[in-house]
Symmetry: D3
Subunit: 248 residues, 6 copies
């Protein structure tokens, strides 16, 4: 049994980047923990009185992924990769005894994402397994490691759907793009749907795999079903899928 820690700057970052992979870990019997560094206690939503709602949403999303949730207590858009931030992540690593960490890719146009990526690399400096996931704001990203999420993509969309109140989400998160990217990376990986990762370092575990029902292949969900799920999700949030950003 592995202990897996996923670190993200804001609510829904982790779900977007590696939510389906966390589900796969959960199903494999691994312990899964999410560390969300900002937004729970004192995020920008506070002035609208929504902090409590967003806490509930993130809690619900974590539950759908079978994950324990930890909050970093930092403030949105002010994260810096200093000793304090590193200390928060070190504490989560110690508490979970994690041997695998997922975190933002380093080259990202959001300052919080860059800071969280850098701070996690510091905190996990003695860990043998650190992998980076992609966000909509990630810039260069050349993944080489993939996880087959064909069986978990609906679960990922459900976890994203738990963040329905998040008005910011409408700007950068487009559910149909989530499905499309999973299929794009899946084609790269020669499978159906995939989440993609760029490892800083990843020590493989070659121990014999225990696969209870390997004979029964996971059925691949029809594209239409996923698109319908994505659409249903998009109807819950502010921006409709069919016109996310006006083309130049």
């Amino acid at each position: 049994m592995r202990s897996v820690l996923a670190v993200g700057a804001h609510p829904d970052d982790i779900e977007l980047g590696c939510g389906a992979t966390l589900l796969a870990h959960h199903q494999a019997g691994d312990r899964v923990t999410m560390l969300v560094l900002t937004g729970g206690e004192n995020g920008p939503g506070d002035e609208f009185g929504q902090a409590g709602l967003r806490r509930l949403e993130q809690q619900r999303a974590a539950r759908t992924l079978g994950a324990e949730l930890r909050w970093g207590g930092l403030r949105d858009c002010t994260v810096v990769p200093d000793s304090a931030t590193i200390g928060i992540i070190e504490a989560a690593l110690r508490a979970t005894d994690a041997d695998l960490v997922y975190v933002h890719a380093p080259d990202d146009s959001h300052q919080d994402h860059r800071a969280v990526s850098a701070a996690t690399l510091s905190a996990a400096r003695r860990l043998s397994r650190v992998m980076h996931y992609q966000s909509p704001s990630t810039l260069t990203f050349t993944p080489t490691v993939f996880v087959d999420v064909t069986a978990h993509l609906s679960g990922k969309l459900a976890a994203l759907g738990a963040h329905a109140s998040q008005v910011e989400m409408s700007a950068m998160v487009e559910p149909d793009a989530v499905v499309a990217s999973a299929r794009h990376w899946g084609a790269q990986a020669r499978i159906g749907y995939a989440e993609a990762f760029a490892p800083t370092r990843m020590v493989l575990d070659l121990a014999p795999a225990l696969r209870p029902s390997a004979e029964v292949p996971t059925p691949r969900p029809a594209v239409e079903d996923l698109v319908v799920t994505a659409h249903r999700l998009s109807s819950l949030i502010a921006a409709p899928v069919a016109a996310p950003v006006a083309a130049g």
Copy 2:
């Protein structure tokens, strides 16, 4: 009016890589030429008596893109980037007086794709605009230049559909992955659907753009429509979309 030359190793390579962009060029009044280096005369299909059929299909695909078609006369899986291959491409550049070339990305696991990319870079050594497109067998690919193909994706799928007889197509070309990648790159480019390019060099044209009806934005096709088109297309070819490659 630009003269655009798209170079590909095999029938359907160009359509897959930049078919919608060629349509956009055509619609902008540019002259568009496709140079397919192998497969027309003496491809592997000959033994099944299908060479004639594939010639017709490629001709039909070119017509749907508003493009002139040229054949290189080389044999599938034997292309090398030598003087003879370079000469064929140089002849096409001279005949079309092209000032913009699209060709395979250099890092590709198919030997013909690598050879065509290298030979085109030689032939176009004095040209100021050479851009690389992605194929399913492309390896590293970091695009930075994009073309908005929201209005042309259906046309691209139609052009691909013209290659219905191509049995090889079932292995690597998955229509739903074509749509997914266009959406994935579109999200990267902050638009709807995009084709993605990595330029070797691209001199921009900053002359004032003549845009007859810029006030009427191109409506973005609903995702469902494109998926339905992709499915209709996939029913024409050998492999069903729903199980392209068994996941490991």
Copy 3:
């Protein structure tokens, strides 16, 4: 008509990086705006009573480029890519409704340049066209997109000449190196003189180009004339061209 925003950390950064390209935009009928983040109000020159002079110089330089000028109001050598800096750039994007942004390359040894590049990538996170220019302090830089500035190099030198009082300029800005780099990149681009850009993302506009007098090719200025211009410029500033930095 495009709206173009060029962002730079200090007076003369923009002229050095993309001054001739801005002239080309201006000549093509585009709206051009320069956002200079530091140096106007409270730069280091204040202690010499030169702030007013530098404001005038930057204003004059902008005028020679046909550009509107905006100041960011930050202090030289203290720029950080935080929410405040991002907000200044967002305001400029909103005010100009820009659809194309030019900014410093991310890998630069000057802390302000790095900060401005990062903050602009945040501010322009939903924009489809962001291109990076090179400064003398830029480190790795692999341009793939070029603008032909053969007709605008003299204008660029004139804009640089407007910054005659800038004593710092003598250290890193060498006018003959400006001409040499334009010719170097021009050779890379297979044209005469070029400014070079590395795009984060660049959506091409394939609309038909309206070229009023395309039949009359731009005459390429003789190399000697440009060198003479560069020398005349260098005689206006502190360091003579013939001995910029003593070779080790």
Copy 4:
């Protein structure tokens, strides 16, 4: 149970690149096959009547790794990545039903290594797991995936020792450098000793691991013991460890 195929250009290439990892696969119950493309039947050793001996040595080395051995039948220093070479590797993939392939890194100064890497990428174009190992002649190599070989390094040295007759070995293979690189990559991976890999693509298997005796940690061999083993090995071959290449 996985089926693993390791592909190398010459005898001892595979052992050097991933010998200890193959031992780890074998111990985990995986099926392991080595495909050596040249050197068995008609290598350059023929003129010294050593072909038979080298066949025996490679056979012995494969046996120490618990691997099945296949020969490609090509001639040393003449490998090209054409259809014939690709076909040989495709046949091995089919025969072993491999789901994981190890092969040379693409950027290598030995023409056979480059050719084998390219041909394997073609042959494995539909496979979800292709990883590249390093050879002494490999040029750029940026590994991100590692296998802990602390328990298998002695076995790797033993497999290398089986190639005692190989006179070429003295030039590029230095046993103490093999141990040093394993420790170097181990430090990168935050473990003891590692073999390092750069994946073209690697789909992770997150099924629960079956670890028979995970409670008993693998004892790490003392550095001295490994060095002594390396030295004993070097005394079997032509060049002494203490003076591999005269320093400039």
Copy 5:
């Protein structure tokens, strides 16, 4: 005679990264200066009353390398690449009139290392020779320039041994890994043992070399002797070599 400045964030960083190269410079008659930015006056060791001890140790280490020692006076884990830090390094460059600088590689998981690398690139912006060394926490690192340290590796280990009190050292610095990396890079460079560097820019000096006793080649130390030295060193510090980090 060159003047060489090596810059490091903490005590022992410089010795680890380029200690043997500094010895080679010293032996060639060059002036060598070490600038240690933190840890001397007010490092974290203060609370254990060890600051004085660490100052003495660093002083002793510098002496074994024939180097002058300068302190930056910053506090451990708080270094930022701002004007103040840049000013400290500029002062050292002026005081030593250095024409060659060694400093941390930019991509490092330790925030102080990143900051020192960036600040040094700013301070040395007009210098023609800036090379980056690797630390245990360095991430991507692709060295192309090497120094043969076969004759100076023992001296490097001795300099590291001078830092015996440094409890932190046990975590990331493993003496046997130091020897292994030197041998690994030596094999890359086709020599015995090497320190490896990635230059930002390096102007070569092609003046005729004065080599007093070039006929007598430097004897390469036996691997065993170095390992024994490494072990003796490791017995001085907290963590034993044989079990540095538990393998996952």
Copy 6:
């Protein structure tokens, strides 16, 4: 005294890439050898009866650089990196006992340049110093090592001028671009004029430099003089400098 081998595919390739550096080596007392692989005996010029003339020109160019000349005897546009080509370069390495090799950069659009680069990397596989120079057809090139050629640029232009008959030269070689690139790289290296190199590996020589007249700095030639020299040169060859390639 070093022995330096410069390898190029065609007459004038070496002069363009590193001619001034060879002059610097010659002046430092090093032995300099040029190996030109094609064009002497049976190049494409043969049909015009110019092979003899080109042999004489290359011989004259080598003499102006103080270099010994060797011919590879291969045919233009047919070079492949096979054992025969590698053998030719190995013979030159043995004959000259070279410890430093200059050769084309690997990523080049000319097939001969790629082949010569690859074959030289094979032939020099045990050498500690291999550096790549840039050609007009080179694609990606990120130099980090530079040689100050301020005192040798006129000599480089003179060596290029010795190739006056070479009609091909008019297409890609533009003398003013040669000067411009030297100044561009010089600015990168913080000196006057530079030739730029990307090392595969470069072991530095830290022996004390013997500099006979280091007190007298090399005077930097006025830019005008170099441009005049470049123009005089261009009047000797087919294409005038002022209109090398029509800008798009």
